[in-house]
Symmetry: C2
Subunit: 82 residues, 2 copies
């Protein structure tokens, strides 16, 4: 089974990385970009075949390692192919 | 207009970050995770209102800064809300 976990900063949390990218894009002459916020995406392969069990496992992986729950949200998508 | 750009390593390209995360998850007692590959996601707000123009701008942003095209692929999604 394949899944994608997307981890993004919560709304309202300052994103210095995103601000730096905004500035760099402007320097490159790209106008029209108002804001950029950067996050992480994890493409995960699991030996698990039951969707429910896989989701529980991935939630645990997010809570334990992939997401800093003080400032980040995570979203789990079970995929067939990516 | 809001868009999401997802940048991932090309298939076949070694992902040491992903390997490190795999190991860390196993250490945390999470079994059943076969592989992890990490990528980046950019949530971007544009002042542009035409989808075609926005996509062209975002492609240019990817080619110039957001993606290293030697080893990474990028995907552009125009969103209404995220």
């Amino acid at each position: 089974m394949k899944a994608r976990v997307t981890v993004t900063l919560r709304k309202g949390i300052l994103d210095p990385q995103g601000k730096a990218i905004e500035g760099a894009l402007k320097t490159q002459g790209l106008t029209g970009i108002e804001s950029v916020r950067q996050g992480k995406v994890f493409d995960i392969e699991l030996s698990e075949t039951l969707v429910g069990t896989a989701e529980t496992l991935l939630e645990e992986a997010c809570r334990k390692l992939l997401a800093n729950q003080v400032v980040e949200d995570f979203r789990i998508e079970i995929l067939t192919e990516y």
